[in-house]
C-alpha cells in the first residue's frame, strides 16, 4: 500500500495505527467510555472483570473509562502545547533569519540561556511560582519548547533567506509577513513536519512527567501521568493499576516515533552510510 506516493514500512504502519487509534479514542472519548470519568463503580483496585475490563482505580473508578478520558486530556494538552510552541518558534525563528543581525543576536542569546538549563527544572520553577492550572501548563511548556523550534526554523530560514526568490520578493517590496509565510515557510515545511512529531512526543512525555510529579493536570481530571501517580501505591500489592496508564503513554510515544522515523527516512538524501537513524 502507498501513502502520499510513498510506501511506508511495517513499523510505520504500526506507528500510524497507534496514532490513529489514540486520536479516535481521544476525540470520541465520552461516547465510547463505559462509565463517567468521576463515577465510582467498583471496589478500590477491583480486579478486571466483564463489567470493568481493566479493573478499577484507587477510589473504585473504572480504569478503562479513566484511560479514555485521560487520552483526551493528555493528548489534547500535548497537541495544544506543540501547536503554540511551533507558532512562537517559527515566527520568531524566521523573523530572526530575515530581520537582520540585532534581532537575531538578542533572540539567540535569550534562547541560549533558556536552553542552558534543563527544561524540567525551569518548568518546575515557573509552575511553583504561578501554581499549576491547565492554561499555565500549556503556555509554560510551549514557551520552553519553542526555543528548540526557534533554533531549527532560524537555521532553515537562514539558508532560505539568501536564495534568489526571497531576494526577488524583497526587491518588489513585499512585507516581512509575506516573506515569512509565502516564501520561506512552504520551503521549510518538510523538516518542520517531522520536527513536529518529535516535539509532540517530547511535550507529551513532559506533560505526563509533570502530572506524575503532581504539578501538572490536577484531579479530578483524568490524565495519564496523574493516573500513574494516583495508583502508584497499588504496585506494592503486586497490582498492575499504575502500569496501564504508563503503558498507554509508552505506546503512543513509540507509535509517534515510528511514524517520525519513517518521515525522516523519506526526507533524508540517499547517502552511503546509515549515519542518520
Amino acid at each position: 500500500m502507498t501513502l502520499f506516493g510513498h510506501r511506508p514500512p511495517v513499523t510505520a504502519w504500526i506507528g500510524l495505527a497507534i496514532v490513529a487509534i489514540s486520536l479516535i479514542i481521544a476525540v470520541l472519548g465520552p461516547w465510547v467510555a463505559p462509565y463517567g470519568q468521576s463515577q465510582s463503580v467498583g471496589d478500590t483496585w477491583a480486579t478486571p472483570s466483564a463489567q470493568m475490563l481493566l479493573g478499577a482505580d484507587q477510589i473504585g473508578r473504572d480504569m478503562l473509562t479513566r484511560l479514555i478520558y485521560g487520552a483526551r486530556m493528555t493528548i489534547g494538552i500535548a497537541a495544544a502545547t506543540t501547536l503554540l510552541s511551533f507558532f512562537i518558534g517559527i515566527s520568531l525563528g524566521f523573523t530572526a533569519a530575515v530581520m537582520g543581525v540585532w534581532v537575531d543576536m538578542a533572540l539567540s542569546r535569550l534562547v541560549d540561556v533558556i536552553l542552558s538549563i534543563p527544561q524540567l527544572i525551569l518548568a518546575l520553577i515557573i509552575l511553583g511560582v504561578f501554581g499549576s492550572s491547565i492554561p499555565v501548563l500549556i503556555v509554560t511548556i510551549a514557551v520552553l519548547d519553542s526555543t528548540r523550534v526557534f533554533r531549527l526554523s532560524r537555521a532553515l530560514g537562514m539558508n532560505l533567506a539568501v536564495l534568489e526568490f526571497v531576494e526577488a520578493a524583497r526587491m518588489r517590496g513585499e512585507g516581512l509577513w509575506w516573506i515569512i509565510s509565502r516564501e520561506i515557510l512552504p520551503n521549510a515545511a518538510a523538516p518542520l513536519i517531522s520536527e513536529f512529531g518529535l516535539r509532540f512526543c517530547f511535550n507529551f512525555l513532559f506533560v505526563a512527567a509533570l502530572s506524575f510529579l503532581g504539578i501538572g493536570v490536577q484531579p479530578p481530571y483524568a490524565d495519564w501521568g496523574g493516573m500513574v501517580r494516583e495508583n502508584a501505591a497499588a504496585i506494592n500489592f503486586g497490582l498492575f493499576a499504575p502500569l496501564y496508564p504508563a503503558f498507554a503513554i509508552a505506546t503512543l510515544t513509540v507509535g509517534v516515533n515510528l511514524v517520525v522515523d519513517w518521515l525522516l527516512s523519506i526526507d533524508a538524501r540517499p547517502s552511503g552510510s546509515q549515519a542518520e537513524m
Binding site: V113, S116, I117, P118, L122, I125, F212, L213, I215, M277
Partner: protein
C-alpha cells in the same frame, strides 16, 4: 589551547550568572508575588505590607538580586517559607544523596553504553545493531516512571530481591546504601544508557563516512581495525561530549526517579517545594540543578578540547 579552555570556562561562569538572573526573574519579578501567594486568603493589605518588608520585597529588584546572589555565594539560601528551616542544612545531605544516586548510575551506564555503542557501530546494519536500535528506541520513548514501576514489579514484588522504596538515612552503611539505591540506579541507567548508546553509535558512524576512513577500507583493512585504529581516536572527543551530556541528562532524570522510589534527594525536595509553592527552596534547588548541568556541559567542552589532537597544536584560527 590554554586560551581556548580559559575562554570556555569563562563562558561557563557567564552562563551560570545569566541562569541565576533568569531564575531570579522567574521567581521574583513576574507578577503575583510570593507574599500574596503565601498568605492566600489572609492577605489583608496590612499583613501583606509587613510580610513584604520581612521578605525584603519592598526593595527594588536589582538590590534583592545582588543580595540573593551574595548570600548564595556564601552558602546562604535563606529560610524555607513553610517550615522556617535553614535551606542549606536541608539541601546539603539531599544533594549528597542525589550525587550518590547519579554517580552510581553513571558507573553502570557509561561503560555499557560506550562499549555497546561502538560495537553496534562496528556491526552496523546487522542483526545485533538492529536489535539494539529498536530496544534503545523503546527505552528512550517510555517515561522513566514506567521503567521504574516495571523494575519494582519484577525485582521488588515478584522476586523480592530489592526494596521498592529507597529509604536512605544518615549513618547508613555504604554497602546497604548501594543495595537500597540499586533499583533507582538501574532505572536511571536504562534510560541514560539508551541515549548514550545511540549518540555514541552516531558519532562513530558519522566519522565512518569520512574520506580517510573510505581510504582505509580501500587499502583492504578489516572493519574492526578501521574502527579501532582510524575512527575511534577521532571519535573520542564526540564520545566524551556525549557522556558528559548524558550525565547532565541524569540530573534531570533524577527528579522523576527520586519521586518513584521516594528517595530523599534534591529532586524530591524540589517537587515538594513546588507543590507547597515554597519559593526560596525552589530557587535554591533550581540553582543547584542548573549549576550542576552547566558545569557538566562546560567540562564536556573542555575535555573535548583536550582530547582533540587537532586543537593541541598552535595554529591560526579558522572561521
Amino acid at each position: 589551547m590554554l586560551r581556548l579552555i580559559a575562554t570556555r570556562a569563562g563562558l561557563g561562569v557567564l552562563t551560570l550568572l545569566a541562569v541565576s538572573v533568569l531564575i531570579f526573574i522567574c521567581t521574583q519579578i513576574l507578577p503575583g508575588d510570593v507574599a500574596s501567594a503565601v498568605l492566600g486568603q489572609q492577605a489583608t493589605p496590612d499583613a501583606l505590607k509587613v510580610f513584604r518588608a520581612e521578605l525584603g520585597l519592598d526593595q527594588p529588584a536589582y538590590v534583592r538580586y545582588f543580595g540573593w546572589l551574595f548570600g548564595v555565594l556564601h552558602g546562604d539560601f535563606g529560610k524555607s517559607l513553610t517550615n522556617q528551616r535553614v535551606i542549606i542544612e536541608e539541601l546539603l545531605p539531599r544533594f549528597e544523596n542525589t550525587l550518590f544516586l547519579a554517580g552510581y548510575s553513571a558507573i553502570i551506564a557509561v561503560p555499557i553504553a560506550v562499549g555497546l555503542g561502538i560495537i553496534s557501530a562496528i556491526y552496523e546494519g546487522r542483526v545485533a545493531d538492529r536489535v539494539a536500535n529498536i530496544l534503545t528506541l523503546i527505552a528512550i520513548s517510555v517515561p522513566e516512571f514506567f521503567v521504574g514501576y516495571i523494575l519494582i514489579i519484577i525485582f521488588a514484588i515478584n522476586l523480592a530481591w530489592f526494596p521498592s522504596l529507597a529509604t536512605v538515612f544518615p549513618g547508613m552503611g555504604v554497602g546497604e546504601r548501594f543495595y537500597v539505591a540499586t533499583l533507582p540506579a538501574l532505572t536511571l541507567t536504562m534510560v541514560v544508557t539508551a541515549h548514550m548508546l545511540r549518540m555514541t553509535r552516531n558519532s562513530v558512524l558519522s566519522i565512518m563516512s569520512t574520506p580517510y576512513i573510505e581510504m582505509a577500507f580501500l587499502k583492504g583493512l578489516s572493519r574492526s581495525r578501521v574502527v579501532s585504529r582510524h575512527a575511534l581516536p577521532n571519535a573520542a572527543g564526540p564520545i566524551v561530549s556525549v557522556v558528559a551530556l548524558n550525565l547532565a541528562y541524569l540530573v534531570v532524570g533524577v527528579v522523576v526517579v527520586e519521586n518513584v522510589f521516594v528517595y530523599p534527594g534534591v529532586g524530591q525536595y524540589m517537587v515538594d517545594a513546588v507543590s507547597k509553592r515554597d519559593v526560596p527552596v525552589i530557587q535554591a534547588c533550581g540553582l543547584i540543578f542548573a549549576a550542576v548541568f552547566v558545569t557538566l556541559n562546560t567540562l564536556a567542552d573542555i575535555v573535548a578540547i583536550l582530547v582533540n589532537p587537532r586543537l593541541r597544536r598552535r595554529r591560526p584560527r579558522k572561521a
